[in-house]
């Protein structure tokens, strides 16, 4: 596990022993979570350097100074991608993960006139097989803020989509991209950049002026989980149907403030870090399963949110759920909520003080509007089409069972009749 600590160093922690294996100190500090490749760890520093470290030893293997600000990296297939912002331009850069050689660089926006802090003008890339998708705050063609997709091989722009005034880094699946804007959550097709649905969070519009912004979408099996402002600077979180964007349930942390803006999930449980607690909620129902008490609450307020992939969100590993608290990493059993480290478990199979179970799946909250659009999940397999089909052609998997069974029954009857009739 590689996490930036409070001193601005990147620390490699062995899981599950918790031993610190090495620490890397960068001149400008490390505040953004790294990307981990097979043998290297990639990170951006506060001085705008893009650095590759040996995963085992922490030795620096290469470093490229970009100037300005750099984003959290993304790594895939021997390439590492950084967003960079400096001067009046922001772009995406691709490096050979082994040598650090620049493969391509593509400017994606101008930044000089934007009223954002410099850290927000840095496009943060995420990568899947066919596209590098990044959030951009001033789209050159579409205008406004949104997403841009580039060809991973040469950086050629594939599409750009405007989503609002502010767009946060995307979360990708194979076909789909989820991103939070200043208005709500968007699902965007990676194929063409079309918006499949948008779920508006009115509370986001009211949360400007220093309140926490939920900048991370966590993708589960059938739902996406998004932290949402619940008023007074607090975050709860909400589950949205991944296909439709409809609200499935919400969880209000009430008076228990969170320590970050990230949610993690194993598919069956959803984890959220509160001050002094790790919370596990049933992914299907939104009901609280257990809480794990980390230490006493943090006096004087929340741990600074250092942005996406900052490490403030719980991290799901095969050795448990890891959560950082007061400079200590806690490893908690993902299923039972029992701790393996320095803090005894305080399980609460039922709702604890201040916790609220998930609301019913009525999707009727008045402060939200769900706009359902088409869906770009792997399309339903139709009889004559790869996607949804209409009318008589809409024979899908379940009906295919009937069709093929009928064919077999008919064949069986023909068999018996033929045998009875004989060969002459």
């Amino acid at each position: 596990m590689f996490i930036p600590n409070a001193d601005g160093n990147l620390v490699a922690v062995d899981v599950p022993s918790g031993t610190v294996e090495w620490s890397y100190t960068a001149a400008g500090g490390v505040q953004i979570a790294p990307a981990v490749g097979d043998s290297r760890v990639f990170l951006g520093t506060g001085d705008g350097d893009m650095v590759a470290l040996d995963r085992e030893s922490g030795d620096e293997q290469w470093s490229v100074g970009a100037g300005g600000s750099v984003s959290a990296p993304a790594v895939r297939g021997g390439n590492v991608y950084f967003g960079q912002s400096g001067g009046n331009a922001a772009g995406i850069m691709s490096f050979d993960a082994g040598s650090g050689d620049l493969r391509w660089q593509t400017d994606v926006s101008t930044t000089g006139t934007l009223p954002f802090p410099s850290s927000m003008t840095v496009p943060t890339p995420a990568v899947v097989g066919d596209a590098v998708v990044a959030n951009v705050q001033n789209l050159e063609d579409a205008g406004g803020s949104g997403l841009v997709a580039l060809d991973p091989s040469d950086g050629t722009e594939q599409w750009q989509t405007s989503l609002g005034d502010v767009c946060y880094p995307p979360s990708l699946t194979e076909n789909t991209c989820f991103a939070i804007t200043n208005k709500g959550v968007n699902r965007v097709s990676i194929a063409d950049g079309s918006v499949r649905w948008e779920t508006v969070f009115d509370a986001l519009g009211a949360s400007s002026g220093g309140q926490i912004t939920p900048d991370v979408v966590t993708v589960g099996e059938d739902a996406v989980y998004v932290p949402e402002p619940t008023g007074a600077g607090e975050l709860g979180f909400v589950a949205l149907n991944a296909r439709t964007g409809e609200r499935e349930w919400s969880y209000a942390t009430d008076s228990r403030p969170s320590v970050g803006s990230g949610v993690s999930t194993t598919g069956s449980l959803v984890y959220f870090a509160l001050q002094g607690e790790l919370l596990a909620v049933d992914a299907e129902s939104g009901l609280e399963e257990w809480t794990y008490r980390l230490t006493e609450d943090v006096p004087g307020g929340r741990v600074p949110n250092v942005g996406r992939r900052s490490g403030s969100a719980p991290i799901v590993t095969q050795d448990g759920v890891l959560v950082k608290h007061l400079g200590t990493v806690h490893a908690v059993d993902a299923g039972s909520g029992t701790g393996a480290d320095d803090e005894p478990t305080s399980q609460s199979p039922t709702a604890t003080t201040g916790a609220q179970p998930g609301t019913p799946r009525d999707g009727t909250e008045t402060d939200r509007e769900t706009q359902r659009r088409d869906d770009d999940d792997p399309p339903k397999r139709g009889f004559f089409t790869n996607g949804e089909s209409e009318g008589l052609l809409s024979i899908e998997g379940s009906n295919l069972t009937l069709v093929s069974t009928l064919i077999t029954v008919v064949a069986t009857v023909v068999t018996v009749v033929d045998l009875i009739r004989g060969s002459n």
Binding site: R381, N386, L400, T405, T415, L419
Partner: protein, 207 residues
């Protein structure tokens, strides 16, 4: 007992098909195909096993007279149909579970597979239950499945002996011989040596 090993053939083809269907049902299907698609394979496999077992327990009873010649249908055409069905079975499974192309294509492959598979099994079982006898005075075709179906022509009444071979049958050496008489026509199907059967029957009819 029927000739050959119809129960083994039925079990050999039917049990893997049946188990495959059970596997699909038990494992709940895949992302690309529903679990219910196991039912057709279970039905098909079960039919193959049960009918194979049934066919193996029945056979034509010998006629009451001693034959001077006995002809049995060749199973070559049944084997060819069975072999021809296998690529369609593989194609069906592949298209169904390893691709996301429209269901019409695996369905078409399945239909062709079922056609060839059933055709081959039926041919095998029918041929297992069929025997042609030539006695001093009669030509007999006997088939037994649920009951006995026997066609008899008096040799003295034979008016014509016909041999027919399609292009495919010519390639495989198979052929059909029909004995025509005023009382009945008796067909000898899928003979491995149709020319020899034709010669014997023609000779007998001319004596």
């Amino acid at each position: 007992m029927a000739r050959g090993m119809p129960h083994l053939w039925g079990a050999g083809l039917g049990i893997p098909t049946l188990l495959g269907g059970v596997y699909v049902l038990v494992t709940g299907g895949t992302e690309t195909a529903p679990a219910g698609l196991g039912y057709p394979f279970v039905i098909l496999g079960a039919v193959a096993v049960l009918l194979g077992f049934y066919v193996s327990r029945v056979s034509p009873e010998p006629p009451e007279v001693d034959p001077i010649e006995v002809f049995k249908p060749s199973q070559l055409s049944a084997y060819l149909l069975g072999v021809a069905s296998l690529p369609l079975f593989v194609a069906t499974i592949y298209l169904l579970f390893w691709t996301r192309i429209p269901y019409v294509w695996p369905t078409l492959a399945f239909v062709v597979f079922v056609f060839l598979f059933v055709k081959g099994l039926v041919r095998y079982w029918q041929n297992s239950l069929t025997t042609y006898y030539v006695t001093d005075d009669r030509v007999i075709s006997e088939y037994r499945f649920l009951g006995v179906k026997r066609n008899t022509a008096e040799i003295a009444e034979i008016g014509n002996v016909e041999r027919r071979q399609s292009a495919v049958e010519t390639l495989t050496g198979l052929g059909n011989v029909t004995v025509r008489s005023p009382s009945a026509d008796v067909r000898f199907n899928d003979l491995a040596r149709p020319a020899e059967a034709e010669r014997i029957l023609t000779t007998l009819s001319q004596q």
